[in-house]
Symmetry: C2
Subunit: 416 residues, 2 copies
């Protein structure tokens, strides 16, 4: 992509009501547009990163046996009445709307009920279990305040997965498998070293803990107690002697750190399946409850977390696998000879399938480099009149101050 | 994918309130689940087809210079007041909702206003034009009745593209280029031979016609007058002498046919850009209006159109490029020798990147073949005890009654 063709532009200002650093960074770099508090549009650069995150999550969820489907946003009232989650006094962050004839509808904020209801048509026998399904879909939550940018939106993109098992043992095996999938996701997103499975409150209808995945980060608003050897943590909210004992954790081994939640997994027992009258028949012809789990990863939240976590005073700094472009390429001045060489390199790298943003603008190098840094492109390549005589390109990592001078072969080896 | 792992099952019944043939077929085949009138969930098979259609549309829109972005569903009132499209008396199919504090919000039914508002931050000068952007996103329309299945949903997936040009000539060039992109889309979707550019009413703020793309089909609810030589049609709604003259069409050359709309393109002049105060500065420093076009393709509508248009009494019949699986593979009976050969072929085809649904169930061949037909998989391959002795596989096209007997090499050549 040529820089001059980008519809977004970098900017030094952000809307005055935008207080979240993640959103400020992404707005300045032209990745998102603020529609209102907690609601953002994804401009082309932001959408590419979002799609990269989606694809990683999708691939890892497929690997653990998940089948992707897509439920609706508009929700009929009746299925939510069955689980007592319709009343605004019970669930206080619904957006609701109405059909022309006055029928009330919900605007999907989670999908346990419709998923159970839809799968009820197909899960009848023990032969139909286990089932693991997921979707990547916008959720809508009527948050009273929405000041955390992409970290807590009123409209946000989420991967929500649901498992259905014929007994507790099968459920636990699936649950453990999905945890492995979660580790793989954070690894690929560049968060692997800092992200820990963290025990948290399990909710009212199970005596088990839920699990959060928490990334240790200065940007975090959560506090966790981390056992660095066991690579397990416990959320401050349930940090008490009794729980530590249950979990086999020793308070002397734990350090208190700030962290940001990047995923969670829950044991739902048979609360939703029973309530929606979805059972299976076992080998002996007996009706049995179905054990359910649910597993969330906030995709747009991750966009915000990663943007802010890796940022510095110069701007964004994307992990290679999700960057919108791998390489930022430009010429140091607009001289025909330099431009011609840069044009050729742009063509060569593109043909190799390397995503390049080619800054073809005739502006000062300092402005170009400031934009390259703000955009957070991992590799910067400059066609420089001093070194190109020796057929060497100026190469710099976004995360390092050091310049290197590489031949085209060395360059390709470095970035491919 | 093994058939036994599919979470959906084929069915002989559909919800009693489902009257649309497209939705009936897709429900019976386990592609979609009805949530309520005009609102459907996409089960894994349905989602795969939907993604295939999306990908074709995306590729062709990229080819004509479109940049993909993604606007929000939740809409602030103020931008819609500026164009006088907020009031329910002016736009009668809004879904609306409210923030906790009572602020009214719209649930996105189209996106001219937010797109113009967002791009206003970036389009300032003639150097910033032209711009072509698009998104593939759910739209919500509060239809009084929703009886046409996926052909007119209350929640539906749409590709909406918007162009911004500095003058009429540039606008017309972009418009013509995008029309070419539309032809390419229908060609790849298998609708090319039957789909025609069709002049239609242009709306109230232009004196130009809009264009519809209409697929000649018995399932259509529109009537068009088609010039088969010029490959151009005119919608019955504007079929009058004066318009025929303007368009250079001769009523003697036209045949009246039923057709279904699969896309539309509009000249918006500068109605939205002016109303939202988005102008550009020309070379002479003068403020100028921006000429806009918009271009829609209903993605979920196309799923319904294609499902119904190509169907027969046995079920669905997908064009190869969008089928959820290219090949349906099974063994005629569950004998170890046959199963082993089928397992091996499944593996071989999968390794070649061919999407195969492998029916590993131990059920009667007649039931298997009925499911293969209902699912509409283009190629059926059977490991048959009679012919496998000679290393020949039974091969059948979904659209033909004839059986062929092919070696593995011939088979791969046929389906790849």
């Amino acid at each position: 992509m040529k820089f001059s063709k980008l519809i977004s532009k970098t900017s030094k200002t952000v809307p005055s009501d935008e207080t979240a650093i993640n959103a400020q960074l992404l707005i300045k770099a032209g990745y998102i547009h603020k529609e209102m508090a907690g609601v953002y549009a994804y401009l082309p650069l932001g959408l590419i990163v979002l799609e990269h995150i989606k694809q990683i999550v999708r691939e890892e969820m497929n690997k653990v046996g998940g089948q992707e489907l897509l439920m609706s946003t508009l929700q009929p009232k009746d299925i939510w009445l069955k689980t007592d989650r319709w009343d605004d006094k019970k669930v206080d962050n619904w957006f609701k709307t109405k059909l022309v004839n006055g029928t009330e509808l919900g605007v999907g904020l989670t999908h346990e009920e419709p998923i159970v209801d839809a799968l009820g048509d197909f899960i009848k026998s023990y032969k139909d279990l286990p089932v693991i399904v997921y979707q990547i879909q916008n959720k809508f939550r009527n948050e009273l305040r929405a000041k955390s940018g992409l970290l807590r939106g009123r409209e946000f993109l989420m991967k929500d997965m649901y498992s259905f098992a014929s007994n507790q043992q099968e459920h636990q095996e699936i649950y453990n498998l999905i945890l492995k999938g979660y580790y793989a996701v954070y690894e690929r997103l560049g968060l692997g070293d800092n992200t820990y499975r963290t025990y948290a409150d399990g909710g009212i209808f199970t005596d088990r803990f839920s699990d959060e995945f928490q990334t240790v980060s200065e940007i975090g608003e959560d506090v966790i107690y981390l056992d660095k050897v066991k690579k397990i943590a416990i959320n401050q909210e349930i940090f008490k002697k009794e729980n530590l004992q249950k979990l086999g954790l020793n308070s002397a081994d734990l350090v208190k750190v700030k962290a940001v939640e990047v995923g969670n997994t829950f044991h739902l027992e048979s609360k939703y399946t029973d309530a929606l009258d979805v059972y299976y028949t076992n080998k002996d012809g007996q009706r049995q409850s179905i054990i359910m789990g649910c597993y969330g990863i906030g995709i747009s939240r991750l966009l915000g977390v990663i943007a802010e976590h890796f940022s510095d005073e110069k701007g964004l700094n994307w992990p290679v696998e999700i960057a919108p472009y791998k390489v930022y390429l430009t010429f140091i001045k607009e001289e025909p000879k330099l431009v011609k060489i840069a044009d050729k390199l742009y063509q060569d790298l593109t043909l190799l399938g390397i995503a390049v943003i080619y800054d073809d603008r005739n502006v000062r190098p300092a402005d170009k480099f400031a934009d390259a840094d703000l955009l957070g492109i991992p590799f910067r390549v400059v066609v420089n009149d001093q070194t190109i005589k020796d057929q060497l390109y100026e190469f710099k990592l976004r995360s390092s101050p050091h310049l290197k001078y590489l031949s085209q072969t060395e360059l390709i080896k470095m970035i491919q």
